[in-house]
Amino acid sequence: MSEAIKEKSMLLQKDMISRNYEAITSKHETGRKVASTFVPGNLNELLMCFDIVNNLPEINAIQNGMRKVSGNYILEAEKHGHSEDVCTYVKADIGMMGKGNIAPNGKPFPNPDVLLLSYTGCYTFMKWFELLREQYKCPTLMLHVPYEGDGHSTKNMRDYIVKQLKEVVIPGLEQVSGVKFDIDRLRQYLKNSAKAEDGLVWCLEQGKIKPSPIDAYFGGVYYIGPMFTAFRGTPESIVYYEELMKEVQARIDNKLGPVTPDGTPFNDQKYRLVVEGPPNWTNFREFWKMFYDEGAVVVASSYTKVGGMYDLGFRHDPDHPLETLADYCLGCYTNRNLPTRVDILAKYVEEYEADGLLINSIKSCNSFSAGQLMIMKEVEKRTGKPGAFIESDLVDPRYFSAANIKNRLESYFQMIEQKRRGTGKAA
C-alpha cells in the first residue's frame, strides 16, 4: 500500500504523539515522572499538575497494531500463559514488555513511576494493572468510578470520587512527583480542555451534513486523538482543534467528504452509518477501504465517545475542578449501561439521519461486547432501520477475516439499497 495521505491536523497530531513518546522515553535524562493510565477516565489535567508524563498502554497497543507488530507481541504473551480469550490490548502490552518494551520511537520504555487506574466500566483494566504492578513494583492509585447501572449518576457517586481524588489520588501523585498540588493550575488546564472540547464536538456534529465532511469512525479516531490521550488540557490541543475545524469547514464550503488515506475526498456517499465498537487496528486501512469503496460513510460512532461524551453537553468546568473530573469519569461511554447505550445509538441514527447501525463486535473484549446483539435489535426496533453485525478484533491480526467481513458489509449495504428501492425492485 502506498503511504497514507495526511492532512495538516494529522501531521500536527503525529508530531504531538512523537514528542510525548520522547518525553516518556527520556525520563531518565529529564528527571520527569511517568504515569501509566487508561483512555476512559483519563485524568490528564491532573497528571499535568504534577509534571507527570502520561503513558497510555492502550494507545501503545493501537500503535503496535497499526504498525503490524502486535501479532508477535500477542504470541509472546500467549507463550507466557495468557489465553487466547484475553483482551488483546493487554496481551500486546505484556508481549511488548517480553520483547524489550521498545516504544514506537525505537527507544526502550522506562518503567512507570505510578499506575493511575481510573476504573470506568472495563473490569479488564484492573487485571491489566495487577499484571503491570507485579512487573514494575511501583505504586498503584486506584480511582474507583461507580458504574452507572441505573442509567444515571448520583450526588453520592460524585462525592465518592471527589473524596478518593482528595484522599488517595492527589496525595499519591504528590508523593510520586514531589510536586505540591495547585488547584489553580488545574483550573487553567481544565479551561484549555473545555475550549478544545468545544472544537471536537463541533467537528463531530458536522456528520449531520450531507455529504458528511467527516468520517466519524475511521476519521474519528484521528479527531479524538489529542482529546483522549496525553494532550487534553494543553494549549497544543486547542491549536489542533482549531486546525481541524478549519479543515472540516473548508470541506463543508466545498461540499467535500472526508479525505481517505488514498488522498481523495470521499464524496460519493451512498450509505450513512452509525457504528458501535472500536475499529480493527491491524488492518485499519483495508477495513476503512471496505467502507468507502462501497460508498459508506460513518456519520456517528460510540467509539469516539469512550474517552468522554462531550456531545451530550459535558464540558470540563474550571469552577468545580474536582467535581468536574468526577462527572467526566462517570459519563464515559464505557461506564454507561446497556439501555443508555441503546438510547444513545438510536438517537444517533435519528439525529444523523443514518441508514442504520453497524456493530463491530470485538472478539477478545468480554466486558464491552456483551449485549451488543440486544443493542442492535433494540436500535433496529426503535428506528426501523436495519442493523448489521460484524466481528473482528482490536490488535490480534488472526481475528481479522477480510473475506468474511467484506461479505457481511457488502450484504448489509445491498440490503439497505434493496430496502430503499422498495419491494419488488432489484437491489
Binding site: 436495519p386 453485525f389 461479505n407 450484504s411 440490503m415 430496502k419 419491494t423 419488488g424 437491489a427
Partner: protein
C-alpha cells in the same frame, strides 16, 4: 430470446441458472470451481445454456403430436449424443495438449515412442466412449476430468507396458495436460454440436428424424441473448462484469429461497465454508442475517474432514449416522480438532454411527445458535446448501426446530444447491424488467 443469468461461484462448485423475462426457469448448470473462477463461471454458464436448449426443445416437441409421450426419451437421446460429441471434442483437445507436452529432459529420445503410445491410448478412449454414452449407461461422474482420467489410467498401463515405456511418463503428461484442458474456456458452437448430435441420433435410429428434426432445428435457431448476468458467491469479485452486476450471496440466497418457496421467512444455508441464517420479507428481501465468523466450524467442510478421517465418502456419513440409536455428545465443532475428537471417541469404544450422529447434532446446534442470533425461526423455514442433502443433519434440524420453535413448515428442495444462482438470475430479471 432474452436470457437472464445468475452465477454462484462457490468454494467447491460453481452453479448457473438461466431465466426468461417472466422469471421462468430455463436451465441450470454446475461444474467444479477448480481454483479457476473465470473458467468455472464460463463452464457453468454454458452448461446452463445447454440445459436451456433442452428446455426449448421440450417446448418445441410438446407441440408435435407424433412424438407425444416420447419427448422425455427423445430429449434423453439427444442430450446423450450431445454429451458424446462434447466428450469427443474435449478428448481431441486433450490429445493435442498431451502431444504438445511431450517435451523436457525425461522425454529425450523417447518422443516417438510416447507419441505412438498416446495415439493408441486415445484411440481406445474414443472407442470406449461409445459404451460410456450408450442408452442406459451409468457414468461415474458428469465431469470430463473424472471420465477421461479413469479410462486413461486403465488403457494407458498395458499400452505403456507393450511399448516398453515407463507408465509414469504417460501419467505425467496426462496430469499436466488435463489441468490445461480443464482451465481452458469451454469451446463454443453449442448449436453445431447439437446438430451433430441430432444427426448422430437420427443416423443410429435413436430418434425418428422426420417429426423431430424441424422442431429441434427451430428451437436451435432461437438466439439466446445474454441480457443481464448477475454474479454471487465467494468468487464473485473475480467475475468479469461491472460491480453493479455483483450481488452478495446472502441477498441471492434469500431471494432464491423466496423463488422456490414464496412463503419463506427464514432461510438457513449451510455451505462449504459458512453457515448463514437469513430473515426475508414477503418479497424475498433480506431483513436481517447472521453468519459464522472467520471460523468454519460446523460447516460442510467439517463433514469433509470427518469423512476423510473415517476413510468414507462424504455422502456415506449421513446414512451411517441414521443407523445410530444413541447420541454421543460432541462438544467441539472445530474442524481442526475434528480428527482428535473423533479418535478420542473411538478409543473410548463408541460406535462410529453413534459418534457421527453426535457430530451431526453438534453442527445443527451451531446452526441453531446462528439462527437465534438472526432473530429465530419463522414459518416457513427453508434449508439450503450442500448439508441440506444430508439426511442425518436434516433429522437433527427437524427435531431441534420443533423443540425450539414448534410446528414450522420446513422446506428442503432437492435442487437447493442452485438457490444462490436462482436468486442471482431473479435479480438479473428485476434489474432489467422492473
Amino acid at each position: 430470446m432474452r436470457c437472464f443469468i445468475g452465477i454462484d461461484l462457490g468454494s467447491t462448485t460453481t452453479k448457473a441458472v438461466v431465466m426468461d423475462e417472466n422469471t421462468q426457469l430455463l436451465g441450470r448448470g454446475i461444474t467444479n470451481s477448480r481454483s479457476n473462477y473465470d473458467t468455472a463461471a464460463a463452464v457453468s454458464k454454458q452448461e446452463a445454456l445447454i440445459d436451456t436448449r433442452l428446455t426449448l426443445f421440450r417446448r418445441g416437441l410438446s407441440a408435435v403430436p407424433e412424438v407425444s409421450g416420447k419427448v422425455d426419451s427423445i430429449l434423453a437421446d439427444l442430450e446423450r449424443n450431445f454429451r458424446h460429441v462434447q466428450f469427443l471434442e474435449q478428448l481431441d483437445d486433450l490429445e493435442q495438449t498431451c502431444v504438445r507436452n511431450v517435451k523436457g529432459p525425461r522425454y529425450v529420445g523417447k518422443e516417438t515412442g510416447v507419441n505412438t503410445a498416446l495415439a493408441e491410448v486415445f484411440k481406445q478412449l474414443r472407442q470406449s466412449s461409445h459404451a460410456l454414452f450408450q442408452p442406459g449407461a451409468r457414468r461415474k461422474s458428469d465431469f470430463f476430468r473424472d471420465l477421461a482420467g479413469s479410462d486413461f489410467m486403465q488403457f494407458g498401463e498395458p499400452v505403456a507396458r507393450d511399448a516398453g515405456l515407463p507408465f509414469d511418463l504417460l501419467v505425467n503428461v496426462y496430469d499436466k495436460s488435463i489441468i490445461e484442458v480443464e482451465n481452458r474456456p469451454p469451446a463454443g458452437d453449442m448449436e453445431g454440436k447439437f446438430l451433430r448430435a441430432l444427426e448422430k441420433a437420427s443416423g443410429s435410429g435413436d430418434i425418428d428424424s422426420a417429426s423431430v428434426v424441424k422442431p429441434v432445428k427451430d428451437a436451435l435457431a432461437i438466439p439466446l441473448e445474454e441480457t443481464y448476468v448477475v454474479g454471487t458467491g465467494y468468487g464473485r469479485v473475480r467475475l468479469p462484469f461491472p460491480k453493479e452486476h455483483i450481488r452478495s450471496e446472502i441477498l441471492c440466497h434469500g431471494l432464491g429461497a423466496h423463488m422456490m418457496y414464496p412463503d419463506t421467512r427464514t432461510v438457513l444455508d449451510i455451505g462449504g465454508q459458512d453457515t448463514k441464517g437469513i430473515q426475508v420479507d414477503p418479497q424475498g428481501i433480506v431483513e436481517n442475517f447472521q453468519m459464522n465468523d472467520r471460523c468454519a466450524a460446523g460447516c460442510g467442510r467439517y463433514l469433509g474432514y470427518i469423512a476423510d478421517e473415517m476413510n468414507m465418502g462424504l455422502h456415506e456419513l449421513g446414512p451411517l449416522a441414521m443407523k445410530s440409536n444413541k447420541t454421543v455428545r460432541i462438544n467441539s465443532t472445530c474442524t481442526v480438532f475434528a480428527g482428535a475428537e473423533l479418535r478420542d471417541r473411538l478409543a473410548l469404544g463408541e460406535k462410529r454411527e453413534d459418534i457421527l450422529a453426535g457430530l451431526h447434532r453438534s453442527i445443527i446446534l451451531r446452526a441453531m445458535s446462528i439462527l437465534s442470533r438472526a432473530g429465530g425461526v419463522k414459518d416457513q423455514f427453508t434449508f439450503t446448501g450442500g448439508v441440506a442433502k444430508n439426511e442425518a443433519a436434516v433429522r437433527e434440524l427437524r427435531k431441534l426446530i420443533k423443540e425450539n420453535y414448534g410446528d414450522v413448515t420446513i422446506n428442503i428442495n432437492p435442487d437447493s444447491i442452485y438457490t444462490g444462482a436462482l436468486g442471482g438470475a431473479t435479480f438479473a430479471v428485476r434489474a432489467v424488467v422492473n
